[in-house]
């Protein structure tokens, strides 16, 4: 049983939301690093 007595299949929606926020942060960070690295332009 997941938190709040929810089945994992339903609680998964919250996990996907959390994962999406992490994805956005990681993408922004990687994109910034790539932009600073002149070799990535080639």
């Amino acid at each position: 049983m997941a938190p709040f007595h929810l089945p994992w299949q339903t609680f998964g929606a919250f996990l996907v939301l959390g994962g999406t926020i992490i994805l956005a942060l990681v993408w922004a960070l990687v994109d910034r690093i790539r932009d600073r690295d002149p070799e990535s332009e080639s």
């Binding site: 089945p7 956005a24 993408w27 922004a28």
Partner: protein
């Protein structure tokens, strides 16, 4: 009642003031249609959220939560992951660069520049314009219904109050007024939904108590897919999530952002802002416990609002729902007017216009389209009400694949893109109309639950793939210009 009136007058006055301030900054068609590509990441991101979630999503999402329970949280999660974050990552930068390279202000204009296909431009402008008007009618109707329930106002006055204010600030201030008002509207929506969720969860005894009480009503309201079933849940999540990838009123935010570097911060802001997508579904499920006896599921959110919020909270929530509807309606108005004047009138029918005349015509067109939508919404014919359920499916089936393939695959054939539009739209419409055509055999159970969007986009995908393998690619010149290699 007086509280509702004070909050609404202040709020609508603020929106009109933004329209007046922005009118001085709309000096060309480029300013009017895409804000002269000068909008920052915060305004771009939050205005995207406001345009994405209309009043239909808040009221309708609550209705789904009430009817189908917590499995509907997946729809909200899909909205954030597919409809928002992946859309920004996959489409944002390329759309920003390509539309600047091609000097395109509209999605049909992008199709023309990228593929050199006049027919794709005209078809996309016509299909999108027609079905966006129908979509607008449903948005206006959603707002007016909320006025009706929360303020006991007659339906027509809700249509007129919201319609007139939107028409004013859109025609006067253009795209910049739309994005800046949408920015304010997103903040109001977020505050309203967070307040309603917090108060309703408090009333029901917390999240665990909500789950336990739903379980006693029906375990299908807690499980996934629960009482909805996989076909309905997946179809609906796809249409309201992947569908955004073909919606021009959302894609235009990528054209207008100041630089593609700003998409980074924008992606983080939009993801966090879009997270409110789960709240209407969650509060709808709370409403199932607190207000189980309703004549229609659409009353779930308004009834819950009356139960858990005081007058000030209720007024804020009404402002939030109106904000959601207005920002969507205004965004759509700008898209239709610039597309009709630029793509259909000037390029499609070959009429010449000075830049000043084009700006004036676009302003007048936004007024005309708004008035038409308003008049239809006052007393929507039965056919329009039926078609509102198809509007997202048709618009997304028209634009989705020609856009994605146009951004990522140089070889994509112009003819394949055009036929993908035609066959996608036809398949989506035919599928949706199927149960209403008496002489066609009945669809078997699992197939009947699939939405026309899934069918339309699947057919469109097959056609664009096969067509590109057998057809000719776009002229070299168009491809080079789009990719910025000349």
């Amino acid at each position: 009642m007086i509280v509702y009136i004070i909050v609404l007058v202040v709020y609508l006055g603020l929106l009109s003031a933004i329209g007046i301030v922005m009118s001085g900054r709309s000096r060309s068609v480029g300013d009017f249609a895409i804000g002269g590509r000068s909008v920052g990441p915060w305004v771009t991101a939050l205005s995207f959220v406001a345009a994405y979630y209309s009043s239909v999503v808040i009221i309708g999402g609550g209705a789904f939560g009430w009817k189908f329970g917590l499995a509907t949280l997946w729809v909200g999660a899909g909205n954030v992951l597919i409809g928002t974050t992946l859309a920004w990552i996959v489409l944002g930068r390329r759309i920003r660069r390509f539309t600047e390279n091609l000097d395109a202000m509209t999605l049909p204009g992008f199709f023309f520049g990228r593929y050199g296909s006049a027919e794709a431009r005209i078809f996309s402008a016509a299909a999108t314009g027609l079905f966006l008007i129908i979509y607008n009618v449903s948005v206006l109707k959603g707002m007016a219904n909320t006025f009706e329930v929360l303020m006991d106002l007659p339906y027509w006055s809700g249509v007129v109050i919201s319609g007139v204010v939107i028409l004013f600030y859109t025609a006067v201030g253009g795209y910049l007024a739309v994005v800046y008002t949408s920015f304010v509207q997103a903040l109001v929506m977020i505050a309203a939904l967070v307040l309603l969720t917090f108060m309703s969860l408090k009333k029901v005894g917390g999240m665990t108590a909500l789950v336990d009480r739903l379980n006693t009503i029906d375990p299908g309201l807690v499980n996934t897919p629960g009482v909805w079933g996989w076909a309905g849940l997946i179809s609906f999540t796809l249409i309201v999530s992947l569908g955004t990838w073909g919606m021009p009123q959302l894609l235009v935010r990528f054209y207008s952002i100041k630089s593609d570097k700003m998409l980074r911060l924008g992606t983080v802001i939009v993801t966090i802002g879009a997270s409110i997508a789960l709240l209407p579904y969650l509060t709808g499920a709370v409403a199932r416990v607190l207000v189980p006896e309703l004549s229609s599921a659409d009353q779930a959110i308004p009834a819950l609002t009356k139960l858990v919020l005081n007058d000030w909270g209720g007024a804020l929530f009404l402002a939030g729902v109106v904000a959601a509807g207005m920002s969507t309606f205004a965004g759509v108005l700008i898209i239709i007017s610039s597309s009709m004047v630029n793509d259909v009138w000037i390029h499609g029918l070959g009429r010449t216009m000075s830049p000043a005349a084009e700006l004036k015509a676009t302003r007048l067109m936004s007024l005309a389209v708004g008035v038409i939508s308003l008049l239809i919404a006052l007393k929507p014919p039965a056919l329009v009400l039926v078609l509102t359920a198809f509007s997202w499916a048709v618009i997304a089936s028209t634009n989705l694949w020609p856009l994605v393939f146009g951004l990522y695959w140089k070889r994509t054939s112009p003819k394949a893109a055009f036929w993908s539009m035609i066959t996608g739209v036809s398949a989506a419409l035919l599928w949706q109309a199927w149960p209403r055509i008496g002489w066609l055999p009945e669809l078997p159970g699992p197939l009947a639950g699939i939405h026309g969007f899934v069918v339309g986009t699947s057919v469109g995908l097959v056609v664009i793939l096969i067509g590109t393998f057998v057809g000719r690619p776009a002229p070299r010149d168009n491809v080079d210009r789009a990719w910025g290699s000349r």
